[in-house]
Amino acid sequence: MADDTTQVGDAPPSAAVSAAKNGAVIIRVEDVSKWFGKFLALKRLNLEVSRGERIVICGPSGSGKSTFIRCLNRLEKHQRGHITIDGVELTDDVKNIEQIRSQIGMVFQQFNLFPHLTVMENCCLAPMWVHRVSRKEAEAAAMKYLERVRIPEQAQKYPGQLSGGQQQRVAIARSLCMNPHIMLFDEPTSALDPEMIKEVLEVMVELAQSGMTMLCVTHEMGFAKTVADRVIFMDQGEILEQATPEKFFTNPQNPRTQQFLEQILEH
């Protein structure tokens, strides 16, 4: 059973790809399982992510991919196994978890901007209250990131006045303001109208090219092909396959991966 979880293509898969670039492991997941009540949501996952590596996680809905990346900043608690971020293990120790969360940016499907604050205030809140940065510094940094996501002119507006694509770009900028080492994306384009997906993906591609360590749950296969170092396929709480995008899309090994790719590439 346990061997199934690590079933991958041929011998050392894409680990070699990332190791070539930068050897240091920043995320280590060892034998992690999670249950929701009696339902086994994650089944003995193992994964190592190197610094600067870009990983796309895909799979059918309910496969546990969101749950998995939410475990990495402990929005969900894993019940067995070990998760180590940058050498620190995730446990119930509260101080430690806030310390780690401030280094991991997370972008949600529903943006989750704070509606009572302006775009600028959304970006400055955490740097000012967690990192104790002065307002002036926080605003300067926020402006830099808002420019990077191409909406500096919206800084004084409220989230409710922006389009979905703009809101998601603000959410990305808000995460970047904390200078994270790792960025997690949980289906960042799934709640967007088709014409807005592109503007968000462009920002994400740029971010990927800047060397950020990224884990992205998405069905945007174009994005995976462009930037991913590794594509991971999950189903029913297991990692069934991981490979470089070329291998993953042209020569998937697992029959369930083949089936999944057929379905999403059909249209």
Binding site: S102, Q110, H116, L125, A126, W129, P159, Q161
Partner: protein, 367 residues
């Protein structure tokens, strides 16, 4: 026709009948039965309002000093002028009343500007009014410090007592409510359990009972000779009682905040208190402003219940006046006066909350 859609001219907007006549026609006399209804209502209004206004104002007596001088058949307002000092200050010593006036002035300085959106420093005055002023005001009115003569709370009374109790009760019950609401949604079972018990016990008992128990039962448990100010006991009772109600109102707001807001705050590394204080509570409290103000208005009015434990609030002083044979005939006028006074304060509160809601609505259209 077949290749594409013909451009169509914009339609004319519907015409609006301006002016008073247009308004009358569309709102009061649009059909024959509306016209009849309007006329009937005008007749009823006139037959009720004319005698009422006659009694209240045109036939009323304003000059004189005893009720014997009220002989015109209308309302007798003389007692107001004669007893106003008593209604406002109760038994507070005459030569010390400037202290109460200063408190009134400070209250007005902090809270009246809240009605004026462009007033400079408005926010800071409001914060002052909720933090520093209750303490300063208490020592100012009570005395015993800085050379101010000590005035025991048993001498406090009238409108001043009503306002002091209502103001202190409001300032204290809001934070009590916030902490209880957070406690009830806490992930720690002990804190959650205690909050639930506290809320359900205080909310399940009538305020009258609370006040009776505060004034009769607490002394039984204290060692002989130890006394505990009656006003303070009433204040604590009011605070906890309305704090429990407030908690349930605020809990409603907390539950309305989407889970994603909590998660986004946590993902940014904000700890529990910062997450609540900076992200969740500002949104939750905004949602429940109508409920909070509703509770504050109820609190304000229910301060009159302190009558039953022998504190003379404005209703108490007015009742004491009509017990006095010198003013035995002004019962209706006296109660009207009390009702009107309460209405002025509670109505201002309600208008202010509507303003606040409107102002906080800015930019949140989509959320």
């Amino acid at each position: 026709m077949s290749d594409g859609v013909e451009p169509v001219a914009d339609p004319e907007p519907p015409t609006q009948h301006g002016g008073l006549l247009g308004w009358l026609r569309s709102n009061l006399f649009s059909t024959w039965y509306n016209s009849i209804l309007t006329l009937v209502l005008i007749y009823v209004l006139v037959t009720v309002l004319v005698p009422l206004l006659n009694w209240l104002i045109f036939n009323a007596d304003f000059v004189g000093s005893t009720q014997a001088q009220c002989d015109s058949g209308g309302a007798c307002w003389l007692f107001l002028k004669q007893r106003m000092g008593f209604f406002i200050y109760g038994f507070y010593p005459d030569e010390q009343q400037w202290r109460v006036n200063i408190l009134f002035a400070m209250l007005a300085a902090c809270f009246v500007p809240q009605m004026i959106p462009r007033f400079p420093g408005r926010k800071w005055l409001g914060i002052l009014g909720f933090t520093v002023l209750p303490v300063v005001g208490f020592f100012l009115v009570r005395g015993g410090v800085f050379g101010l003569r000590f005035v025991p709370t048993s001498l406090w009374g009238g409108l001043m007592l009503t306002l002091v109790l209502a103001y202190a009760g409001m300032v204290a019950s809001l934070p009590v409510g916030i902490f209880l609401a957070l406690g009830r949604r806490s992930s720690m079972p002990a804190i959650r359990g205690l909050s639930v018990v506290f809320i359900e016990v205080w909310r399940g008992v009538p305020l009258i009972t609370v006040l009776f128990m505060a004034s009769v039962m607490i002394p039984l448990f204290l060692p002989p000779g130890v006394t505990f100010d009656k006003l303070l006991r009433a204040f604590i009772g009011i605070t906890f009682f309305w704090g429990a109600y407030m908690a349930e109102v605020i809990r409603g707001g907390l539950q309305a905040i989407p889970k994603g807001q909590y998660e986004a705050a946590e993902a940014l590394g904000l700890g529990y208190w910062r997450k609540m204080g900076l992200v969740i509570l500002p949104q939750a409290l905004k949602i429940v402003i109508p409920g909070i103000v509703n509770t504050l208005i109820a609190l304000f009015k229910d301060t009159t219940l302190v009558l039953i434990i022998g504190l003379f609030d404005i209703l108490g002083t007015v009742q004491a006046t009509i017990m006095d044979p010198a003013w035995s005939d002004v019962t209706a006028e006296a109660y009207l006066f009390v009702a009107f006074t309460f209405w002025i304060f509670t109505f201002s509160l309600s208008r202010y909350s509507q303003r606040l809601e409107h102002r906080l609505q800015v930019g949140h259209e989509n959320e």
